[in-house]
């Protein structure tokens, strides 16, 4: 169970967002500039809200009133960014292993093989990110975030940098990911078709405020 209440003035935008997510895939849906990515960055610990509270199950990640602010690296929250942000100096395999190394987790050959198979990235393992297509890069980014064993996965417009054909190529993988991994997800998107296909619940943002919450029929 994720509960988010955050406030911050971001330039022209007065962000004041409150919602909860009980699991499954919650879509943060809205036009660009509505503040979706800022909310994601606050949950990940990359931006500090001015006021508010963010809690994941019984762990408080941020609480302005109590002076709690867990740094990003200790939150255990995986993020897939719009532009894959793979490490260019590592091979795909090392990118996938990075989170496990940094969090001091034991090698789990079964989990690794499973994610590699799920995302169909076996043939890419020895390559460097510079030699991957946009779609391949994004699949590796999904794998990298999954293999850090996150408690929550944030997907920030993961398909926005891809053309329509690539999107169609990736969507089935995203669905497999949703049905296979038991980790709750927040999915940011401005694309109604995408949200209808992936999300189980929708939080609709407009100009920094939540205007509707409910099922995918909201989109």
């Amino acid at each position: 169970m994720l509960s988010v209440t955050v406030e911050k003035q971001l330039g022209e935008l007065a962000l004041d967002v409150s919602f909860t997510s009980a699991g499954g895939v919650t879509a943060l849906f809205g036009m660009s500039g509505a503040g979706k990515t800022s909310v994601i960055n606050m949950i990940a610990g990359l931006i500090d809200p001015a006021r508010g509270r963010i809690a994941l199950d019984d762990t408080v990640l941020f609480d302005a009133a109590a002076g709690i602010n867990v740094p990003a690296w200790r939150r255990g929250v995986g993020v897939v960014f719009q532009e894959s942000r793979l490490f260019p100096h590592f091979t795909v395999k090392h990118n996938l292993d990075y989170g496990r190394w940094m969090r001091g987790l034991k090698a789990d050959a079964k989990a690794f093989a499973h994610v590699v198979e799920l995302l169909d990235i076996g043939p890419l393992l020895a390559r460097r990110p510079g030699r991957l297509s946009g779609g391949e890069r994004q699949r590796v980014a999904f794998g990298r975030a999954l293999l850090m064993q996150p408690r929550l996965l944030l997907l920030d417009e993961p398909l926005a940098s891809l053309d329509a054909a690539r999107k169609q190529e990736i969507l089935p993988y995203l669905e497999r990911l949703r049905d296979d991994a038991r980790v709750p997800m927040i999915y940011v998107s401005h694309d109604p078709a995408e949200v209808r296909r992936i999300a189980t619940r929708v939080v609709r943002l407009e100009a920094g405020k939540v205007v509707a919450e409910g099922g995918v029929e909201l989109v």
Binding site: W73, V79, F87, M102, R128, P129
Partner: protein, 231 residues
């Protein structure tokens, strides 16, 4: 013409040793200060920036003289280091290393700083979300991506150290076998009758070393850049 006398060989070897040691010893400090200047905000940052760059704008003789009156045998700090730690700079090759390191430091810091500033902060953020604490982010992402700049900075520093003359000769004089580098030897040879041929030999050697350093660094930088493009 390339029959170097033992004295000339000594000057060449000593120059290389001083330049290499000065570059290597100043590298960790250069990386640390470049990182502070590129990524941190703190009180006195512009002052630190100015002090680091001072040897670039001061006459080298002034830098050498400042070293002499702070770290010379009879200077308080110099005497303290000599008495308590046995570290002596004055009229030793180690003093030449120090003078060269100080003179080369601004070039080293500048190249590395620019390179750190060019590293995409978004990659560092991604590393943090994957569980990397700040020190690990630095060593696993920032530093490897800065490699071309570090190489460029080291070559500039090496070349500067190899060519250093004013600060070195002021601080540790011009003692054959101890502090007489190629530059100092060339200067000495031009001051004595019949030294022209020897001076020319050393000039050719200085050109060869500098060109070799430049080409080697180009090669390293190209390889590093290829790696960083993810190819």
């Amino acid at each position: 013409m390339f029959d170097l006398s033992p004295e000339e060989w000594t000057a060449v070897a000593l120059s290389l040793r001083i330049a290499v040691v000065a570059t290597i010893v100043s590298l960790p400090f250069g990386i640390a200060i470049a990182f502070l200047l590129a990524r941190k905000n703190f009180w006195g940052k512009s002052l630190l920036d100015a002090v680091v760059h001072l040897p670039l704008v001061l006459p080298p003789v002034v830098t050498g003289y400042l070293l002499l009156i702070t770290l010379g045998r009879r200077a308080p700090l110099g005497a303290f280091l000599a008495d308590n730690f046995g570290i002596v700079f004055s009229f030793r090759w180690t003093g030449a290393v120090l003078a060269c390191a100080v003179m080369a430091f601004p070039l080293l810091v500048r190249a590395i700083r620019l390179s750190i500033e060019a590293v995409d902060g978004k990659l560092e953020q991604a590393a943090a979300t994957l569980g990397a604490r700040p020190a690990l982010v630095f060593f696993s992402v920032t530093l490897p991506l800065t490699l071309p700049g570090i190489i460029a900075g080291m070559v500039l520093a090496f070349a500067r150290a190899l060519g250093e003359f004013g600060a070195t000769i002021t601080f540790v004089s011009n003692i054959p076998g101890e502090t007489q580098t190629i530059s100092a030897a060339i200067y000495t040879l031009t001051q004595v009758p019949g030294g022209d041929a020897a001076a020319l030999r050393l000039v050719v050697i200085a050109i060869v070393i500098s060109l070799a350093a430049l080409m080697l660094s180009e090669w390293f930088a190209r390889r590093a850049t290829q790696r960083l493009r993810g190819e």
